[in-house]
């Protein structure tokens, strides 16, 4: 899927060659936001109706693929909606908040949100710590730098179906990991163990996406002023101290971005529980909201319920993202 680019510093960027694309201020990562471009100032493009013509296909695409379905979901979530054969008209009566009520009282849905909480509690710290440590290590003169970068990036660009296949086998009951562990192997095994299934999914997702976040931190590290490291060295700070006092605050905007993206990716979990733990098993212990959305909406043909669940999910994601932003940005420099 497309990687969501919450990419500030771009909206208001003046298009003159001197400043475009240099949105990172020395003090930190990306900043700024969607500001309207000052009218008439800066931009010196041609004022031509052709512009509208050029972007029309894309604008139509956005309407068909985003705006209409978005409105449709919200509408559906307030009505009793049935799948019908094409061409048949069936009433879809207004039911108010009934679908939402059903969503919030469904134990499986509640379980899936709990599962996502477990997932995020493992995934986010692991992602932030590992990717920052690896990025810092890569951000110095080490031999084989581009080899390491490519190696870390590889899982990110590989189909998750292929990766799930390998992990399912590595963590299987008769898999390599259990053979290595011998008597220490968990029973029931990883993916069929109701306590361990979700953590394994969280570790798997951390592994697949880590390369992307390493690259993100690597880019952010370029904007940490070198003098700060020198000053820390003069003050006699050790390696760990320097890392905590200079590197970590220096990339905190990137940390926000990493956290928000991890929340979005985590809330979109589908392929992993569907394939790795055999449909969110055991007994919904690794079910994700999107998996429930699929099972309820399409397999069991309750699209109205699923639409309400989708709306709730997005509200949760937005809230979590705002919280993540607050938490990582509040701690002053």
């Amino acid at each position: 899927m497309s990687l969501p680019l919450i990419s500030p510093a771009s909206g208001g960027g003046s298009p003159s060659p001197g400043t475009a694309g240099r949105g990172v201020s020395p003090g930190g990562g990306p900043r700024g936001g969607l500001r309207g471009r000052p009218r008439g100032g800066g931009t010196r493009g041609a004022r031509s109706p052709l512009g509208a013509l050029f972007v029309t296909p894309y604008a139509l695409f956005l309407v068909v693929v985003f705006a209409v379905p978005l409105g449709y979901t919200v509408w559906m979530s307030f009505h009793r909606f049935y799948f019908t054969a094409p061409g048949t008209e069936v009433d879809a009566p207004w039911v108010g908040l009934r679908n939402y009520q059903d969503v919030f009282t469904d134990p499986v849905v509640l379980r899936s949100f709990l599962n996502i909480a477990v997932f995020l509690v493992i995934n986010i710290p692991l992602t932030v710590v590992l990717s920052l440590v690896l990025a810092s290590a890569l951000n110095s003169r080490v031999p084989l730098r581009s080899f390491f970068r490519a190696a870390y990036y590889l899982p990110y660009i590989t189909a998750s179906v292929a990766l799930v296949a390998v992990w399912g086998y590595l963590f299987g009951t008769d898999g390599l990991l259990n053979h290595l562990l011998g008597g220490l192997a968990p029973d029931p095994s990883w993916l069929v163990n109701s306590v361990l299934a979700m953590p394994v999914v969280a570790v798997f997702v951390t592994w697949t996406n880590l390369g992307f976040f390493v690259m993100l931190y690597l880019a952010a590290l370029q904007s940490v002023p070198r003098e700060l490291y020198e000053a820390a060295g003069v003050d006699g700070a050790g390696r760990v101290r320097t890392f905590m006092a200079v590197t970590v605050p220096g990339v905190r905007h990137a940390t926000t971005l990493v956290t928000v993206l991890a929340v979005i990716k985590g809330s979109n979990l589908f392929t992993e529980p569907y394939l790795l733990t055999g449909g969110g098993g055991p007994d919904h212990a690794s079910a994700s909201p999107v998996l429930i959305l699929y099972q309820k909406g399409i397999e069991q043909a309750h699209p109205d319920f699923a639409a309400a669940l989708g709306v709730v999910l997005v509200l949760v994601v937005v809230t979590l993202s705002l919280i993540a932003r607050r938490l990582t940005e509040r701690k002053g420099a």
């Binding site: 680019l5 500030p8 771009s10 512009g51 693929v65 690896l134 998750s160 292929a162 990766l163 399912g168």
Partner: protein
């Protein structure tokens, strides 16, 4: 040039190497198991021995899901997205960066917004619209439609065109060139890095995508490889002699095109991609 700092970089190098092993081992394992006649969980099975390896797993998975058809489906799906992204996306990127028109900032705002809307929210209404209302289930068009234009690529194109010197465009306009001609003759030849990155992003998305094609294709003859392999993993394992080996063989076939493409353009990809992601 590394010798000077060699002593200081040892712990780092050890850390990076450990990381590389963790990242690469599953790939090596996937490949070795796909070539093994028998797959067991033993550590000894990690390295295939000459006597016990061969391509029989590839034949087995081919017999079960017909790799050729699946690859063609994946190819058509991916090519459709690529084509739309390169044509519609480049036009939109150029328009957003270089032309004035009403609603430009609104459209750009929408571009940024759609990247934060999880596809999963749209999955259900899109399914209803595409499969039930438009009757596009089990068709390439239905598969391609929601992914047709990759907004990340549009964003990338816009950023790139924005960075080209304005004088270039003015000179061409004074010479009386039309916008389409300027785009084709002036902007595009300079935009090769952006086009390359856009191509990679737009390739990897649909090639790896599972959920959407899984929803719209019920006919095995229409399923892309990711979907048919997943179907094989959950339903058809019992039909072959060495199911794990066959699954690994299928996983290799699925993984290889994206990995090869990535390795070919590696340097370009990581840099431009990430720069635009963090800096805009």
């Amino acid at each position: 040039m590394n010798t000077r700092r060699h002593s200081t970089s040892w712990p780092k190098l050890a850390l990076l190497t450990a990381g590389a092993v963790v990242f690469l081992f599953p790939f090596a394992y996937m490949l070795s198991q796909s070539l093994s006649k028998q797959t067991t969980g033993d550590l000894g099975s990690v390295i295939p021995t000459p006597g016990s390896s061969g391509t029989q797993n590839y034949e087995a998975v081919n017999g079960a899901v017909s790799l050729g058809t699946s690859l063609v489906n994946s190819g058509v799906f991916t090519a459709g997205v690529l084509l739309c992204t390169l044509v519609i996306g480049v036009l939109a990127g150029y328009g957003l960066a270089r032309l004035h028109f009403r609603g430009r900032s609104t459209l750009f705002g929408a571009l940024l917004l759609v990247q934060t809307v999880p596809f999963q929210l749209l999955m259900l209404p899109l399914y209803v619209l595409v499969v039930r209302d438009y009757g596009l289930g089990d068709s390439y068009l239905g598969m391609i439609l929601p992914f047709a234009v990759n907004s990340t690529a549009v964003f990338l194109f816009r950023q790139f065109f924005l960075q080209l010197p304005a004088e270039l465009f003015e000179a061409a306009r004074i010479d009386g060139a039309g916008e389409l001609r300027i785009l084709w003759r002036v902007a595009l030849p300079m935009a090769r890095p952006a086009l390359l990155t856009g191509t990679l992003i737009a390739f990897i998305g649909p090639w790896n995508e599972f959920l959407w094609p899984f929803l719209v294709t019920k006919d095995a003859e229409m399923q892309p490889l990711a979907v048919s392999l997943a179907g094989f993993m959950s339903n058809l394992r019992g039909t072959v002699e060495n199911p794990t080996g066959a699954v690994m063989a299928g996983a290799c076939v699925l993984a290889v095109p994206a990995v090869v493409l990535f390795l070919l353009f590696q340097r370009h990809f990581t840099q431009t991609n990430i720069d635009s992601a963090t800096k805009g």
